[in-house]
Amino acid sequence: MDKMGEIELNLRVNKVEMRKSKHDEQFNFWSGVLFGLGLVAFIDEAVFHQLLHWHHFYDKSTTSMGLITDGIFHAFSWFATVVSLFMLADLRKRKIWDGKQWAGATILGAGVFQLYDGIIQHKVMGLHQIRYNVEVIYYDVVWNIIAGFMIIIGLILLIQRKASKTKGKVSET
């Protein structure tokens, strides 16, 4: 390949990687949120179901509505984990991955799902409790406070990121 061809190719490759569209920021954000959701669902299954055996596979007090939404969430969390990692790979390939925004979105997604699990699934739908034969109220409080903290930290990270970006734009002009 001659010199000119090589330069052209490099430009082309760079263009592919750097090309941005107005959806990239949203894409980055949703990749993080979905990964956070999948991560919490995975920890829930691995730690609370399999390792600690605190959660039960199915306790008979579940409402049928609870069974259905649990099934959908279970399936969606698998899908979210996989698709979010493919999205991350895509962002990295194009060299437009915004790690700080992604981390904020991940923590936010994890917190929202944890809160949903703690309030709606455990309490409203009675899917299963965090632990059996104990005063479950303390577990519930800790569970949901952790969820709340994650949401707050996630939001702070996202707001900071947004602020630093707009600041950068102002100083450029």
């Binding site: 399936a75 698998w78 493919f86």
Partner: protein, 261 residues
Amino acid sequence: MMHGHVVEISGFLELFILVFTFIVIISYIVAVYMTNRKYKKWPLIRVAFWMMGVLSITIGVIGPIAEKTHASFQAHMVNHLLLGMLGPLLIVLSAPMTLLLRSVPIGWGRFISKLLKSSYVRWITHPIAATLLNTGGLWILYTTDLYRAMHVSVLLYVLVHVHVLLAGYIFTLSIIYIDVTPHRTSFLLRAIVLVLSMAAHSILSKWIYANPPTGTTITDAQLGGMLMYYGGDGIELILVILLCYQYFRGKSKRREKALVY
């Protein structure tokens, strides 16, 4: 435990299935060998997928696990996973239709592709129809009396197993595009259908956990239900990864193509 008369697959039928298994594996290998001279080399991994897929199905129909299914719900569930999920997935990965099309004379090929393009095939390989046939069939099997009836009638036993195999195959085919696929649907539609089908599968396994099918003990049904839940998760995870892999690979190819012009 099963009561009274129980369906037994006779020795003759077992021998027939065994010979049939042998023939389909050999035919695939012969077709690969013959067509490799004329066309691009057929990937060896597909031969392995075909052999493993056919064997999964055979193990699901005859042999020690299949014999136990009359007495044990867990064995029945292992069978279901082999026959309805793992076998079909491996078969789809081995792309038998593509191999068939490059093995037969042109006239036949035209006929087959005409068949594949027909509105019947379009209808039945649509993700929604395929899911209803696949997961809907399972719901009917376990929530009605069919499960018990299947074990006293040979005809029903054979029909249900053929249905599980075919529906599993068509469902897998409708979600991931490896073999010849004349009727394509969008990534979003397939993603939604796959998530809902996974959900229906896990809901059904919890339902079985709580409501043992007629003739099974509670422990047997609970362990069987959990086997269905986690086994299904494992195979469905492979489907999700393949679906996403195909979509994102296509996406980056389209991006590069757009830049050339």
